[in-house]
């Protein structure tokens, strides 16, 4: 279900995606690409949790992007959102850029995350294993970077170029809006100091990584597991960076086991 969620008396107006009715609350933070109108893996998670998945300000119909310049602004925005949703503490799951922000939310205030799941999170930089420049990638180059199998239907669908001009323009403008917002946290190198703060994360933390992630290589997991006391890594076989579209079942299973365990 998609509703409009106001935060701070309308300073932010969010396109809020919710899945499921019962179960423990779960806050999902999406990656730089944002949410699609329906996310099957969230639908799946919705069978076990009450999933809140807002489009970040600047994505889709969510407004208030101009009030967020950096990680601190983003973290306080999420803290405020959680309070207003009545879930000051919740399970938090984040993917890629969303994983980076989820880790920051948990580090800034150790009471926010009950448990934390980081799926191929950004937030670090290793000179020996540079992250390819997604901002400079052309549409034809994106699928091989993001997917284990760039020829799969999911990969093809995500990177399809509309032939209709109006649709193309809409897609292009939306893509620019989303990546411009992401650039506040990721440009030119996605290191905004998480390395100084990650030790603060107290919540039990699960790192999930596609074993064939060509964007943020699995070697980055060590940056997290070495700093977060109560953390472990599970690799997901035959998956690239977009784990949820390639190995939905394995991913949802791992999240469920961890959060229910």
């Amino acid at each position: 279900m998609i509703t409009t969620q106001k935060v701070l008396n309308g300073k932010f107006s969010l396109e809020m995606h919710t899945y499921g009715n019962g179960g423990e609350p779960l806050l999902f933070m999406h990656g730089a690409g944002g949410l699609m109108p329906v996310e099957p893996f969230l639908e799946d998670l919705g069978k076990h949790f009450k999933v809140y998945a807002p489009q970040f300000p600047g994505y889709g119909d969510s407004t208030g992007n101009e009030y967020i310049d950096d990680v601190a602004d983003a973290v306080l925005f999420y803290h405020e959102l959680m309070d207003e949703l009545g879930i000051p503490t919740a399970n938090i799951v984040g993917h890629s850029m969303g994983g980076m922000l989820a880790a920051e939310v948990a580090a800034f205030d150790i009471h926010r995350a009950k448990k934390l799941v980081l799926i191929a999170p950004a937030g670090f930089w290793i000179d020996e294993t540079p992250i390819p420049d997604l901002f400079a990638a052309q549409l034809t180059e994106i699928a091989p970077l993001l997917f284990h199998d760039p020829n799969s239907p999911a990969a093809q669908m995500m990177t399809a170029i509309p032939s209709d001009f109006k649709a193309l323009e809409t897609m292009y403008v939306e893509r620019v809006k989303r990546l411009a917002t992401a650039s506040k946290f990721l440009w030119p190198i996605p290191d905004r100091g998480l390395k100084k703060r990650a030790y603060r994360i107290h919540a039990p933390t699960l790192l999930l990584w596609g074993d064939d992630d060509k964007l943020i290589a699995p070697v980055y997991a060590k940056e997290f597991t070495s700093r977060i006391k109560n953390s472990k890594l599970e690799l997901i076989k035959n998956a690239g960076h977009m784990v949820m579209y390639e190995q939905q079942e394995a991913l949802v299973g791992a999240i469920r086991n961890f959060l229910k365990g």
Binding site: D69, D133, F135, A136, A137, Q138, E141, E169, Y172, V173, R175, V176, K177, R178, L179, A180, T181, A182, S183, K184, W187, P188, I189
Partner: protein
């Protein structure tokens, strides 16, 4: 009509197969393609050419800023402008300009421009570009989403630093300074004229109109395609009730003159090809970082200067097409006179920025084209717009008597530790006799 002789300072020796074999001329071009010994020759040739343009009576000498590329070898245009202050006397120095969001703190630009203005005797025209996406986002790491905000703040700081009578504090979002106190201050008071180079961002029209700055449209599509942008600018000016003064618009145009139209093709076609296919071979992913252009500009449908769509539009064009479509104005003096007059009239443009060294063009051809233009074209166009006042050029009101001349330097061999030294004894005499 005023004329600025503009140099991009390209690297002239990229390999034949550059477009096919290499990723991009900008950002990640391999460093081993640059030979500093060749570079030494090029910089000195290029400065010679600008000095020659001064001698030939051009109103301005143009330089600009680009990074990590073979298209234009001036990471710091201020260094080139400084080199020009000493051996030129007449032309204005059009530094178009410094990408002010890149300097930390931006008063560095206010200081260097003030230095240039003082050294040159009040000849500086100060350009404030945002800078290309390649330069600012990819090479200098600026966040695309905030670069325009940072640019506007830097602008406000620089203007205040020039115009303020007193020491002041500046509490910006990007720059915080407890003491701003510009030494030296510009010779032109309160500040040099400001030109804003643009590539068609719609916000820039408003910015220029609101501050009474000159808008310089730097396009490589030529005057026919440029008309859309010029019309957009004049529309904004008219809507705001501003004077439609042609001198408030600058336009860059590739211009090449030879004895005849046929000779022009023979002389220049290969160098145009080099320019369009090698100097502008920019990887599409570097052309326009997400957030660099505003949604408003994207929706206005203004075509980017570089990248795939721009390249596609040029694909397969031959000399005749470049001429017919106005990318290039070239030919005999008569042809160039006619085309240029038509072009400047259709754009309502008073400041022409000529690109006369283009691509791989060697010094002797640059000299020929420049000389023919200066003697057989320029004088015939001076009458254009003579009924308008150019309020966007230096006033040049420093009295001749106060205008400092570089002194003659004696070179004399003095054997001190076996080294040869130059003595500037004459210099002291000239200065003290004044």
């Amino acid at each position: 009509m005023k004329f600025t002789w503009f140099h991009l300072m390209p690297y002239r020796f990229l390999p034949e197969d550059f477009k096919e074999k290499y990723h991009s001329v900008w950002v990640d071009i391999p460093r081993d393609l640059y030979d500093p010994k060749v570079g030494h020759r090029l910089y000195n040739d290029y400065l010679d050419q600008l000095e020659y343009a001064d001698l030939m009576g051009f109103d301005g000498l143009g330089v600009n800023e680009h990074h990590q590329n073979a298209y234009g070898l001036m990471p710091s245009p201020n260094i080139m402008a400084a080199a020009l202050t000493r051996r030129t006397r007449n032309a204005n120095l059009v530094v178009l300009g410094n990408s002010i969001a890149l300097y930390n703190p931006p008063i560095r630009v206010a200081e260097e421009f003030a230095m240039l203005d003082v050294i040159s005797g009040g000849r500086l025209i100060a350009g404030f570009p945002v800078g290309t996406s390649m330069d600012t986002n990819f090479c200098y790491g600026e966040v695309p989403a905030t670069i325009r905000e940072k640019y506007y703040e830097a602008h406000d700081l620089i203007i205040k630093a020039w115009e303020s009578k007193d020491v002041f504090s500046f509490n910006g979002k990007y720059t915080k300074l407890r003491y701003v106190n510009l030494w030296p201050k510009p010779l032109q008071q309160p500040r040099p004229p400001i030109w804003i180079p643009g590539g068609g961002s719609v916000e820039t029209y408003d910015f220029c109109a609101d501050h009474d700055y000159q808008y310089s449209f730097l396009s490589y599509f030529g005057y026919i395609a440029g008309k859309k942008v010029a019309d957009g600018y004049w529309e904004v000016m008219a809507k705001k009730g501003k004077e439609l003064n042609p001198f408030s618009l600058g336009f860059a145009q590739v211009v090449a003159v030879a004895e005849t139209d046929e000779q022009a093709e023979k002389d220049y076609a290969a160098h145009m090809d080099y320019f369009y296919n090698r100097c502008l071979h920019v990887y599409d992913g570097f052309a326009d970082a997400p957030g660099y252009r505003t949604v408003k500009t994207i929706k206005a449908g203004v075509l980017g200067q570089v990248g795939d769509r721009a390249a596609m539009r040029r694909e397969g064009l031959k000399w005749k097409d470049f001429i017919d479509q106005g990318y290039v104005i070239a030919g005999s003096p008569k042809t160039v006179r006619e085309r240029l007059r038509e072009a400047m009239k259709s754009l309502n443009c008073g400041h022409l920025m000529l690109l006369q060294q283009i691509g791989s063009m060697p010094p002797e051809l640059v000299r020929k084209s420049t000389s023919l233009f200066a003697t057989e074209v320029m004088p015939h166009m001076r009458d254009l717009w003579s009924n308008f006042e150019d309020r966007w050029s230096p006033k040049r009101d420093l009295p001749q008597a106060d205008f400092a001349k570089p002194a003659n330097v004696h070179f004399q061999k003095t054997e001190t530790n076996g080294t040869v030294r130059a003595a500037a004894s004459a210099s002291a005499e000239v200065r003290s006799s004044k």
